[in-house]
Subunit: 513 residues, 2 copies
Amino acid sequence: MFDEAITAQRCQWAPWQSKLCSAEQAAALIKDGMTVGMSGFTRAGEAKAVPMALAEMAKTNPLSITLMTGASLGNDLDRLLTEANVLARRMPFQVDSTLRKAINDGKVMFIDQHLSETVEQLRNHQLPKVDVAVIEACAITEGGGIVPTTSLGNSASFAMDADKVIIELNLAAPLALQGLHDVYFPEMRPERTPVPVVAPNSRIGGTEIAIDPSKIAAIVVSNIPDSPSTVLPPDEETQSIADHLIKFFTYEVESGHLTPSLLPLQAGIGTMANAVMSGFAHGPFKNLTMYSEVLQDCTFDLLDAGVMDFASGCSITLSEERGKTVWNNLDKYRDRLILRPQEISNLPEVVRRLGIIAVNTALEADIYGNVNSTHVCGTRMMNGVGGSGDFARNAHMSIFVTKSVAKNGDISSFVPFVSHVDHNEHDVDILVSEHGLADLRGLAPRERAQVIINNCVDPSYRPALQAYFDEACERGGHTPHCLEKALSWHHAVNVEGSMRSFIKEQELAEAEA
Amino acid sequence: MFDEAITAQRCQWAPWQSKLCSAEQAAALIKDGMTVGMSGFTRAGEAKAVPMALAEMAKTNPLSITLMTGASLGNDLDRLLTEANVLARRMPFQVDSTLRKAINDGKVMFIDQHLSETVEQLRNHQLPKVDVAVIEACAITEGGGIVPTTSLGNSASFAMDADKVIIELNLAAPLALQGLHDVYFPEMRPERTPVPVVAPNSRIGGTEIAIDPSKIAAIVVSNIPDSPSTVLPPDEETQSIADHLIKFFTYEVESGHLTPSLLPLQAGIGTMANAVMSGFAHGPFKNLTMYSEVLQDCTFDLLDAGVMDFASGCSITLSEERGKTVWNNLDKYRDRLILRPQEISNLPEVVRRLGIIAVNTALEADIYGNVNSTHVCGTRMMNGVGGSGDFARNAHMSIFVTKSVAKNGDISSFVPFVSHVDHNEHDVDILVSEHGLADLRGLAPRERAQVIINNCVDPSYRPALQAYFDEACERGGHTPHCLEKALSWHHAVNVEGSMRSFIKEQELAEAEA
């Protein structure tokens, strides 16, 4: 199988060989109806061999489980498990197109959660107990402690809560990851004390998941790398959004509202976030820090550029190219990185204390600044709310970014009334599209609407949204609406595949007037 | 004017007489365009004489201001100020019908905020600076410190932020209030440390608002009592809601999920909250605590009954009857009460740490458990989101209660799609109507819908909502909807004043089938 010497080097726990087994043998520990907690957050550090074996096994021995993870999985695991009909219930996040379809067809019950809350609910027995935890490790310590790999996510709490723990020792994961993690559990209520993170670099816990080793039911050796991230270079609109934000922050620094080190940065995953963060390499910024979920390519770019001093996250997800320069040089970053449980990386307590500047992506926003992050036309789940709610509600400044249109202009990302609300107007300080930035702080809804229409909406849709807003204002209300038309833009997408009819209607109305 | 000896007894600050002036003189310090921060939270402890004089003054010398308070004001102040056209902008909460109309007419710009956030934004210069603070006091200490009255609210931060402070010394407020307050300010970022509240009875600050006395611009003596609360005895439906909840908590205790002391309780203001809280006097509950905003009649009933050990709030609002037994007997409760700034009573950090059980009132909820707390038919503001978001997002258990119908059954409080979202499904664990309780924890949207329809919806509207849900499920989606009908129930209210046509439509459809 695998070189025993290499494996032994990573296993300091004496009885490790007695627990060694194949992925198939380990997967067989998972029974129909069980709740399984697996490592993995944004395609980083997920258990790989065991879920692959489980999907294979289910083809001949059907079973269905509740699967909890940190966030999304790589290596097509959610697809494989969905195709094998293994998933009865899935939480708290996913990004797989096959699983997405099953969720939207009502075949998999998906529990979409704020990512800081899953293990809190588990700890307080508000979710079913974890029967089996499957945790990827880069090493096992002398006392049977698990050293996680590229994500910490919910792994520590899953392992603590589980009856049985399967460790997937991944030889492809750099051993140099050891020491980066900071494993901390909030105390049980009512005796809980403050979580003592006071800065992105606060180290408050241990470097391993210290479980009762008698729970180690199997050790599976694997050698499968994480899936690389699929971040693309910014297109023109994405670059414009980044430029607007960098201009805004430059002004905030120059006018003394923020210092050149700003406040700790959080950014959602993806191309947009990468473009925005990369922008901080230029301008009056220095000694930046990050207190976020995922550490992406841009994080390491900023560390390399000497603009960023420290980055705290709960996972590292890199492109193939960037991975080559990071994974073999972890020592270079060792003093400037920390990986936390997602409960701590996203904890409202810490987000509010540190005063995070949060940058997240909106699927759509309405004229009053309510944001939909999850549901296409109010019904079809994309990925999940993720950590955006943990950050947006408690941030010093909550920023949402989106391109003004989608599908070549068939769909306006700014609508009269969002078809699903993940973040309401109270939690949205700033909205940015490629056309401009709307600073909504301290504004009433009617004021917010005018700023959003003027600054963010695509010019082609602006007259139609202005007309909606004007008509609504005539009818009155704190948040004026024409309810019979409020969701008609989405209905048009469902029926005609486009919102363009509202542009034409408005042009006709103006021509007649 | 007022007996000088009595006034002197409350003024330990030596130069107090030099600042003594009439309410009219003090009001004249407030100029057109200013931002004014006044004490007052849920009709408790608001400055009274100065805003009354301001309203009077504005009749001859028009001026308009931004008014910030803790929350709602008593003594009809918001009505008087609105009628005098004094209010250009108002935040963060109100309950006055005259002001409400002005807000909904677009005449007053109302900034509806999570009540923990106003002074955080002020501290970080995200809201305009306070020019003048007007704070009600029951005493002034030797160093010029302000001892607040029946609410602490945002008073301390307003006084710290303001250029000038007007103190309204209210001789009608018991001097025995001195010592109840716990004035604490979170440190400035990025140096902020944890807020060290670890239990409802944690005392972390001082008992007075210690301002620079050179800022004291005026001292006005008044003798005007707080408006009493208007809590009514529970009607049949309210009592049923309370009974369902008490039954639920009794089960939670008996099954070992919670101890007989539960976790600290938070309850919104009003008859519903009073009825629910009063229910805890019966059952297996003991050593209860409260960590809430407003302490109402029921709080003192539970303290008197020996069922509750301690209550922390940011204001005390009592009925006339209950006031008689509390205000003259404050010493009896002294060791079991604390009044905090609303920033601390509602702080996400503390709410999550303590694991609050939060009970708040919904205006309406949809079949997926999204809650509207504020907007009638999506447009017309009622009061504001208040502290419900601070608690619901971070609570151990977030409960929303509502009667199943309003306006004699013309309106169903459960609808296909809420017309405004204050609390989305992630933040709503349990919904209760007089018909029953829906425990939504760990459920996917399609599961949530069926439990809500079965347990909470009024039987008259149940078939129509079930039909909507069934049709939506056939179309598919994680959160199925028929967008063209989603807001039709509200539109019917706007047009016909009732949702009853959906009952009839459904009856016809079933008769035909």
